[in-house]
């Protein structure tokens, strides 16, 4: 976390001088000096970093140069939008990807699984922004079923604004979530399929069949529990990277999430926001990895620490 904060801080510093962008060109020298001083940009880098670090430890990640609001608050306002988008997409990926992958793995030679596999290649290779535009064209412009931009109505929950709690919001959420999930669905399908095919060859599956268990029991208990381990890993990592980098989809659907915020901030070199954003993302990855590791131990008894029993 500390190492990462140094890298980010120096990296952002190296990108460019925000003063050029923030201060109107016709401001005179004195105004300029004052602005630089007010933002603390006159201090040497290590001093700036020191101030940042001390404040960060107190929960203050700095104020946005542009909005003059605490960067953290700015990001947290946008967070629910991105969060529900990413979780929705991941949820869909698991809900659709797992059964399809399972089917493709169990019947690798059927026409259905060949179609699924061909579809998953499309899901992998079509660029997100293009699929997003196509979705808008078909469902919003031509059919008029779903709205194409914004979050729609939101409802209050846990002190934050969420779209998925209202009908209108859900309709707005639909398309961006589908767009984001296409790649993930393909990923989960392929992962599940190869997992199933590998597991089906294992002796314990044959032994389970030799015990006279029903095919359903063999598939859903013996095979399924084994393939969940890699799927959980990848889905966890995917969830993290979606939250962090759903920029393209958010731009296409004008979804007011963190992705749009970070792009805007980078454009105006709003350093505190960029740094705070990256800090939050790193934090989130750490948390997600922790959760995945904890899930492991419930799924795979071999991972559990010895000595508990």
């Amino acid at each position: 976390m500390l190492a990462m904060s140094v890298i980010v801080f120096v990296g952002v510093y190296a990108i460019g001088d925000p003063v050029e962008i923030l201060i109107s060109p016709d401001a005179d020298q004195i105004e300029r000096e004052r602005a630089i001083q007010a933002l603390g940009l006159d201090l040497p880098l290590w001093q700036q970093y020191g101030t940042f670090l001390i404040r960060a430890l107190q929960g203050d990640l700095g104020r946005s140069f542009v909005f003059n609001e605490p960067a953290l608050q700015l990001i947290l306002q946008k967070m629910p939008a991105t969060l529900e988008l990413a979780v929705g997409a991941t949820f869909m990926a698991v809900l659709i990807g797992l059964p399809l992958g399972l089917y493709a793995g169990l019947k690798p030679d059927s026409a259905g699984s060949k179609a699924i596999m061909a579809g998953s290649i499309l899901g992998f290779s079509l660029p997100t922004f293009w699929v997003g535009l196509m979705l808008i064209m078909v469902f919003a412009v031509q059919l008029g079923w779903l709205p194409s931009t914004g979050r729609g109505e939101t409802a209050q929950f846990l002190g934050l604004q969420w779209s998925f709690l209202t009908r209108d919001g859900l309709a707005h959420l639909m398309m961006p979530a589908i767009n984001l999930s296409l790649f993930k669905i393909s990923l989960v399908i392929r992962l599940t399929r190869s997992g199933v095919r590998e597991t089906m060859l294992m002796d314990y599956v044959k032994f389970a069949r030799a015990k006279g268990l029903s095919p359903a029991r063999v598939t859903y208990v013996h095979v399924f529990k084994n393939i969940l381990i890699p799927v959980v890993t990848v889905v966890g990592l995917e969830l993290g990277s979606t939250i962090a980098f759903s920029v393209v989809t958010e731009s296409v659907f004008a979804w007011p999430g963190m992705g749009k915020l970070i792009i805007d901030s980078i454009n105006v070199l709003d350093r505190p926001v960029i740094v705070a954003y990256l800090m939050i993302i790193v934090m989130m990855f750490i948390v997600i990895n922790l959760v995945v590791d904890l899930l492991y131990s419930t799924l795979d008894p071999r991972v559990r620490l010895e000595g508990k029993s």
Binding site: M202, D203, Y204, V205, K206, F207, A208, R209, A210, K211, G212, L213, S214, R217, V221, H222, K225, N226, I229, L299, D300, P301, R302, S309
Partner: protein, 325 residues
């Protein structure tokens, strides 16, 4: 006495891209009630596929294409998948070669045992658990209650094989197919498991098919012996007779390659050459290219011949002189 299992001219072929592999091509043998039948042969001779054919677990691209598997007179090759499932684990059980692989690593032992009970009988979970506990006790696992709650990785190899045997015994099957169950174990554990199985078979009247490549194992365990080579039974008969006076040159060579007290000091004999590819079997007797008694006539097909009462061999130049002696 009616035989528990009678296999007649079983043929199991694998339809691969490179051609048809005749893994099992004309295997016949009979297993009487409470008898132990040893099925011996080197790797790739079709022993395991024979076992899987009987229990109906040959996977694509393999298929049982011919012959009859009569289990108490009922032809298993003609049963539907569901009828077969009801037999499996219930009246016919199987024990696999590698105990490290046969138990599902992510499920507790009790889950894996109880599901076997519930697959074939309608009893309460508590009663099923009681049965599993008894079965574990029967195969010599101490403190079965505790062990039931463990995961497979908490067991040693020998213990896991005991668990697998306990699972096979849950429904007191009439036939157990044991596919090299002691090969992956230490010699000491091997001895324990063998003694255990022998005792159990004797107590419960269960018939056993013991698949192995280890002649010393069958010598002490089996009643009858069938020797397989390249998908065919080349010789069968009572175990002591076959081992003492082998008729088929292959069996002869096999026994000659095992150290013995009677030939102390002599170098061990070898069978020259190697097993032919099942895709390109030589015509006639598959062994003739490696056989020291082969003549041009050996390229013609040979049937399993009853050379002396109770003993068959698939050979036109058998070692009869020693049998007579």
């Amino acid at each position: 006495m009616a035989a528990t299992l009678e296999v007649r001219n079983l043929q199991t072929h694998f339809f691969t891209r490179a051609g048809v592999v005749k893994a099992v091509d004309g295997v016949s043998f009979t297993v009487g009630r409470g008898k132990v039948m040893g099925l011996v042969g080197e790797s790739g001779s079709g022993k395991t596929v024979t076992g899987f054919s009987i229990i109906g677990l040959v996977d694509a691209p393999g298929r049982v294409v011919g012959g009859e598997i009569l289990f108490h007179g009922q032809n298993l090759a003609k049963l539907s998948e569901e009828e077969m499932r009801q037999l499996r684990g219930n009246r016919i059980a199987m024990i696999f070669q590698d105990p490290m692989m046969t138990l599902n690593p992510v499920l507790r032992v009790d889950t894996q045992m109880i599901e076997t009970v519930l697959a074939h009988t309608k009893v309460s979970k508590e009663e099923a658990r009681q049965r599993c506990r008894d079965a574990l006790g029967m195969v010599g696992i101490p403190s079965p209650d505790e062990r039931l709650k463990s995961y497979p990785h908490q067991f040693s190899g020998g213990m896991r094989q005991r668990v697998a045997i306990a699972i096979a015994l849950l429904h007191r099957p009439e036939l157990i197919i044991a596919d090299e169950p002691t090969t992956a174990l230490d010699v000491t554990i091997q001895g324990q498991i063998l003694a255990e199985v022998q005792k159990l078979a004797a107590n419960t009247g269960t018939s056993l098919i013991w698949i192995t490549h280890d002649l010393s194992v069958v010598a002490g365990l089996a009643d009858d012996l069938a020797v397989m080579y390249a998908g065919k039974v080349v010789e069968d008969g009572p175990v002591s007779e076959v081992l003492d006076k082998p008729m088929h040159p292959y069996t002869h060579g096999l026994i000659g390659s095992v150290p013995s007290r009677n030939r102390r000091g002599e170098p061990l004999r070898q069978i020259p050459g190697m097993t032919p590819s099942l895709l390109k079997l030589p015509p006639g007797c598959a062994f003739h290219s490696r056989c020291d008694r082969a003549t041009p006539e050996c390229t013609a097909p040979v049937e399993l011949l009853e050379l002396i009462p109770g003993r068959h061999a698939r050979c036109i130049h058998p070692h009869l002189e020693e049998v007579a002696a």
